[in-house]
């Protein structure tokens, strides 16, 4: 107890050094006076008494030292004083302090932002327990195409679940959508059918109410549902009263028993509904086909799981040879890898880039400290002369560096906070970022920032500090206070500039290559006009009475009424996201022609006016007529790629093709033979990066009843028409909902450009910052060199030297550094740019144009940074400079 009390008081005394010291002095003085009086009483002369008192007391300084050791922690006291001294020193040179702090803040915040993205996107994206062992199961064929999974029919799912021993537990989930007739008209809910062990499997507690378990799927149990936080806020205004509320979905009542916390987005559903799996489930319904997701047992690797599944699968393949292509293999992939895919590469690239930026920032501050060390040479020499040890001086200088880093940390954290907010908006949705991801500045990220700040303290501070004490201390104390021994220092500072230039070349080249890619991507002619086009799903409740005829009738009415909305120019129907379609592919057969077995085509069901609406012209034959669609004729329009690839030079018109995939749809089309009536121009139907795929357009009426999307061309901002469109649909059928309206441009941006623009923007900001830091670095070194050479320059000018010669001399020195950095940076880039290959498109990692532009840019920045100090040097008045000495 008393030892703890003493330790605390010792700690406290550290911060009361002055007071304790005064008190001790007073006490010792009083003591000495008493002793002296005593000796005087014994008959000593005052002078002898004073000496006798001192002898009897012991060495005063020694006693004080012992008392100081006992009363507080010396090292901490020293540190505290160093900090006070450091703050005073730094606040005297405000310009230096602010520049250094801001430079460090830039580096620290950039690294922190990217680390937080990396951590939340790649390292720990899921709120689920055991997510490091969460895997998906796929089956791939010999050409590595994914042929089965992660969705499996119930019977097959249960077979693997029972046979495999490598899994700890398995959950079966599938997505479905249902229409809820709410107070504000019908609304489409994304629901997930989930085996009742689901919440146990994921290990997440509900935010409100409870979750379901096996007892909720007993035959007589009431139907219950658990709600997603997003849906709770969106559709129920975050009202806790939703618990116990009954929702009628597609005609069936479900009672809400719980609401999950915000990041719980399993299968991105609005509602989770419990549903056990039975081998007899119809595989064509969502309930009957589920994603197989499991936890590996601890210590089991994905490879081992694959090995076991391959053995089990071989047994099944003998039984069902049609489902398992020869040489197919299992792939067990962690869900994190499945979601993140190659986005991981993007983030690691960016992380590498920010690390470079931080190093550049550290080089800059180290350079500033070195310049400052020269100015402080006298101060340090004097401290050494009066007895400060080298380690003590190094420590003092490091404390100053740590103070700068701490300033950088605080400013950097604030900047990172803003940066993270901004970046969270920019992240490509779905493109490698899971829905569960939430980018934030949490504790681990802050800890990381602190570690970075501490590491950079040594990174930029240690070298200059050691350098300061290594120098001949006597040189610093000479009367003029001028040093001549600057060569070694200059060499080191030049080295730092060369390193900075080299690193920034690497950064700029990376950004430049991404920019080339992006510009090329944007420059791709999509082949159609995506401006002012709105896409919105039309969602029907399930109706037993719905026939193709009356649904066609409703669609026609919706299209007609929508076209009358002010600002709407035309309205079409399409399946999925035109012209890319629902990504439905079908093998292709042409009677009488031997096509390769891999021949296939992208299918797009649409109304007759879709090509016209998107601005895709016909190059041959005709498009669909109203009669073609009204009567659901067996006719198709193909694109140029289709015609070229499968008919070559022959005329495709009036030829017959077969699309066997259509016979296996949930609502099969029994006769898959079609007559080609027209050829339309190619569009980028696989996105701007890839060549167009062979495509077939079919009349939408062939596939009814089914959910189609409205494609609406407007005269201006398409989203403005949404409310009016919703009203028109309500008039046609009050139970039909308009779902997920989005502009075609936005959709294309999200699908094809988001990631490229994300990488470009972030890397571009880093590269720009790096370039600015480099400019500052070059400028700093030259300005310093010039100030050291003022005398020499003044003499030259006084003796009649040309100012042009002087400028040339200085600029040559600066450009030599830049050139050295350029050579080194280009060499590094040749090696590292290969890492960017996966993010480039139609751009060589050693693209000569980019290299030339970057070299030119750095040369210009370097020349400017040299020019300013050089100009200043020749403006010096010789007499003033010399008198100053």
């Amino acid at each position: 107890m008393e030892n703890l009390r003493r330790a605390l008081l010792r700690l406290l005394t550290v911060f009361r050094h002055g007071r304790s010291e005064r008190e001790l002095g007073r006490e010792v003085d009083a003591h000495l006076v008493e002793l002296q009086r005593e000796f005087e009483r014994r008959g000593f002369s005052p002078e002898d008494a004073r000496l006798a008192a001192k002898r009897s007391f012991g060495g005063v300084e020694q006693v004080k030292e012992q008392q100081r050791d006992a009363r507080s922690f010396r090292w901490l006291e020293d540190l505290w004083r160093d900090i006070g001294y450091g703050i005073r020193t730094l606040s005297r040179t405000r310009g230096f302090t602010i520049t250094a702090t801001v430079t460090l803040a830039l580096g620290i915040s950039a690294v922190t932002v990217i680390y937080s993205v990396l951590r939340n996107v790649v390292l720990e994206p899921f709120p689920y327990s055991r997510s490091d062992r969460l895997v998906n199961v796929l089956i791939r064929d010999a050409s590595d195409r994914q042929v089965r999974g992660p969705y499996f029919p119930a019977e097959e799912f249960l077979f693997y679940q029972q046979q495999a021993t490598v899994f700890e537990d398995v959950v079966g989930t599938s997505r479905d959508s249902m229409l809820w007739q709410g107070d504000n008209g019908p609304e489409r809910f994304d629901v997930a059918w989930m085996t009742p062990n689901g919440f146990d499997f994921l290990g997440v507690k509900p935010m409100l109410g409870r979750v379901f378990d096996a007892s909720d799927t007993a035959p007589d149990a009431p139907r219950v549902a658990v709600m997603c936080h997003r849906a709770w806020v969106r559709s129920f205004g975050a009202d806790p009263g939703v618990l116990g509320r009954t929702l009628v979905l597609d005609g069936t009542a479900w009672t809400v028993i719980g609401v999950m916390p915000p990041r719980f987005e399993w299968n991105i559903a609005d509602l989770w509904l419990p549903a056990v799996m039975n081998p007899a489930d119809d595989p064509r319904t969502p309930r009957g086909t589920r994603a197989f997701q499991a936890h590996l047992r601890p210590g089991v690797s994905p490879r081992e799981a694959e090995a076991q599944l391959t053995v089990i699968g071989a047994r099944r393949a003998r039984e069902f040879p049609n489902e398992y292509p020869p040489q197919s293999r299992f792939q067990v992939i962690k869900v994190i890898d499945w979601v993140v895919r190659d986005f991981r590469g993007v983030l690691y690239t960016l992380f590498g880039a920010v690390s470079l930026l931080l190093i550049i920032a550290c080089c800059n501050v180290a350079n500033m400290l070195l310049a400052r060390a020269t100015i402080r040479e006298r101060e340090i020499a004097i401290r050494a002369a009066i007895g400060a040890s080298r380690s003590r001086i190094v420590r003092q200088l490091l404390v100053e560096s740590a103070l700068l880093a701490a300033g950088g940390l605080i400013a950097g954290s604030l900047m990172a906070y803003g940066g993270i907010q901004a970046l969270a908006q920019l992240l490509p949705p779905g493109g490698g970022v899971s829905w569960e991801t939430q980018i934030r500045l949490d504790r681990p990220v802050l800890v990381f920032a602190i570690i970075v700040a501490a590491a950079s303290t040594f990174g930029f501070g240690l070298f200059p500090a050691l350098q300061s004490v290594r120098r001949d201390i006597a040189a610093g104390t000479n009367v003029a206070g001028r040093t001549t021994a600057g060569r070694r220092q200059t060499r080191m500072r030049s080295g730092l500039v060369v390193a900075q230039v080299a690193l920034s070349i690497v950064l700029l080249l990376g950004a430049g290559l991404l920019m080339r890619t992006f510009v090329k991507l944007i420059g791709v002619d999509l082949g159609f006009d995506p401006k002012h086009v709105l896409i919105a799903g039309v969602a029907f409740p399930p109706r037993q009475t719905m026939t193709p005829d009356n649904q066609r009738h409703i669609y026609r009415q919706i299209v007609e009424r929508s076209a009358s909305v002010p600002g709407v120019r035309s309205v079409a129907l399409a399946h999925g996201f035109p012209p890319f379609g629902g990504q439905m592919m079908s093998p292709l057969e042409v009677p009488g022609v031997a096509l390769e077995p891999s021949a296939q085509a992208l299918l797009l069901f649409c109304s007759e006016n879709l090509p016209g609406l998107l601005g895709i012209p016909m190059v041959k034959g005709r498009g669909f007529s109203t009669l073609d669609t009204e009567q659901a004729r067996q006719v198709v329009v193909v694109n140029e790629t289709f015609a070229r690839r499968y008919f070559g030079s022959e005329d495709p018109l009036a030829r017959v093709i077969r699309l066997p995939r259509l016979t296996t749809l949930p609502r099969p089309i029994t006769d898959p033979t079609f007559e080609v009536i027209g050829v339309m121009r190619d569009v980028a139907n696989s996105g701007p990066r890839d060549l167009p795929a062979p495509q077939v357009l079919l009349p939408f009426t062939l596939r009814l009843p089914s959910g189609y999307a409205l494609v609406v061309r407007t005269t201006d901002e398409p989203l403005r028409a949404v409310n009016a469109l919703r009203r028109e649909i309500q008039v046609v059928d009050a139970q039909v909902a308009l779902a997920d309206p989005i502009t075609l441009e936005r959709r294309i941006q999200m699908n094809f450009y988001a990631r490229a623009s994300f990488s470009l923007l972030v890397l571009g900001i880093f590269a720009g910052t790096g370039a600015v830091l480099v400019a500052l670095g070059i400028y700093g070194v030259l300005a310093y060199t010039v100030s050291q050479q003022t005398r020499e320059i003044a003499i030259r000018l006084a003796l009649g030297g040309e100012s042009g010669d002087v400028i040339r001399m200085i600029v040559r020195f600066g450009l030599q550094l830049v050139a050295a950095g350029l050579v080194i940076g280009l060499a590094i880039s040749l090696a590292t740019n290969r890492l960017l290959t996966t993010q480039l498109w139609n751009t060589s990692p050693n693209d000569p144009v980019t290299f030339a532009v970057v070299v030119l840019l750095i040369a210009i920045i370097g020349a400017l940074a040299c020019w300013i100090p050089a100009r200043r040097a020749v403006r010096v008045q010789p007499m003033i400079a010399l008198r100053h000495e």
């Binding site: 008393e2 003591h31 006076v33 012991g58 006693v63 008392q67 006992a70 009363r71």
Partner: protein
């Protein structure tokens, strides 16, 4: 001589706190000089330490909360810091004394009775 010196100091380091506590407890509030003078007087030969050495013990005891210092005026009208034993100091003195007795008893036993 250095080794002899060190032996003397080592012996005292463990006991100096006890000596100071006990002296303050019998003398009542006292300043460092008065305390040193008293110890000199008690010892048969001059007290084996410089007077300044007391300061380490004083700050240690004060931080443990066993004694308390306060500035007062001496009889001669000069300022001095007077130390007095606190209540927890008095309790500690009892404990420390008992420990010391046990230790001395054991050492004596060892020295006197063992052949």
């Amino acid at each position: 001589m250095p080794s002899e010196d060190r032996a003397r100091v080592e012996l005292l380091q463990g006991t100096l706190d006890l000596i100071v506590l006990r002296a303050l407890s019998t003398m009542g509030p006292q300043h460092a000089y008065g305390l040193a003078a008293r110890l000199d007087q008690l010892a048969d030969h001059p007290f084996p330490l410089n007077q300044g050495t007391l300061y380490v013990a004083l700050v240690r005891l004060e931080q443990k909360g066993w004694i308390k210092g306060a500035w007062q005026t001496t009889e001669a009208g000069r300022e001095a810091k007077y130390y007095s034993v606190t209540r927890s100091g008095a309790r500690a003195l009892g404990r420390q004394t008992e420990r010391w007795q046990r230790l001395v008893g054991f050492v004596n036993k060892l020295l006197l009775h063992e052949p």
